[in-house]
Subunit: 273 residues, 2 copies
Amino acid sequence: MEVRKKHKSFGGESVFASHSSHATSTTMSFSYFKPQEEVDSAIIWLSGLTCTEENFITKAGVQSLLAGTKTMIICPDTSPRGLDIEGADESYDFGSGASFYVNATQAPYRENYQMDDYITKDIVSLIKEEFGIGKISIMGHSMGGHGALVLGLRNPEVFRCISAFSPIVNPMNCDWGKKALKGYLGEDQSSWKEYDACELIKSGKKHDQTILIHQGLADEFYPSQLLTENLEEFCKEAGQELQCQKREGYDHSYYFISTFLNDHIQHHLKYLK
Amino acid sequence: MEVRKKHKSFGGESVFASHSSHATSTTMSFSYFKPQEEVDSAIIWLSGLTCTEENFITKAGVQSLLAGTKTMIICPDTSPRGLDIEGADESYDFGSGASFYVNATQAPYRENYQMDDYITKDIVSLIKEEFGIGKISIMGHSMGGHGALVLGLRNPEVFRCISAFSPIVNPMNCDWGKKALKGYLGEDQSSWKEYDACELIKSGKKHDQTILIHQGLADEFYPSQLLTENLEEFCKEAGQELQCQKREGYDHSYYFISTFLNDHIQHHLKYLK
């Protein structure tokens, strides 16, 4: 791990760092906030389309909420970077900044876009080895909310708790998701189901703890890209506990996230203790 | 006032807007946060070099601190924009984003760089007329901390309270300040004294309320550009109450500001009640 920048905040440290990833075969950047106290647990935050490791740590106001706790938060970048892949920098919703947290199977992405492995193996190992932490949970926003749901449901033994802001819950049925899953996983839609929260719930995947979701009702991507109600329906059918908080007037932005972030932090702290 | 973007946050609204300024003869941008409650007072936030009206409202976490109060905060841009002034976009510390909140007397800046008037007249009028608010205070960071000190000390009847993070307190004696004051006000240094907090205090300007300053001791511009101790010395001599909080390990960034922002908000609320 190489620390690039470090800022004292709320007695702890907001840090920008990078490391060499086995999964992506690239140098990956991430940020984290570690409170002053000795930490014993970590939340992984997955960001949305176009974000880097910087957005959440600079805009969400998480530092004040974790100060005084024994929990840190770590925010990986949203895709490998600096690769010379044709077309990977042309659209905001595919390629750079838009990994959708899958293990790609299609050329030319399969060499590096192994973001499922990156999060569930490399980042989890980093948390264990660098910080001595075994208790981990996962949350995210939009595409990162999709990532948190999917990786959390596939690995409930790794992630003690899942929550999401404005998640893409059913990517197989929205434009963003179709474009990404086709591009990374190919035409065969049966492979897409492994990366669709609704399909995972339908197939019997479950998490012991209640999944917490906040969704703004003035969100410009709701419901078309997010399809929140589909997850509610499948969770109900499958008996997966879901607390879906819909909030009048709130949009898709960090202004929304910061407003309800404390609810998510408290939810995670309960299961990380 | 033209609203460009509006985001519900913490029950209130984070808004990006613009208006036509008499002082600068340009359209000026600003942001504000207004809590859900009916407001009766406003804090003006002045940002530092290179900032726009966006930095503070997106990064400081002020919304959570003002939610539930009757006080709004308004964040003007740091200079006129979009002017075709030769050289105004060439350096980070002069011209665009670097007005130093003076009324310029030198061509080609004197036509538009009337930022003292812009803040003390146009923004103050906007607060009164648009929001019906008469109780106003001022705070800022770095160049904006300089602005808050200078405009607050020159207009104690307008601003009920002054505070600053990492302010440039003695611009006549630092490189940033010399460059700016010379460029906007000309070679005659006697005119610079009107825009130097130390010189204002020395000349007898005073504010009835305690001035609150926070300064990080790992700040990369401390003490060379900020000269904090000079203000402490002059305030002591002149009997101006000053609370200067120096904090180990903190730098010049928003991570520092957000950490201590609540102290400043509480200080202002006391005098805005």
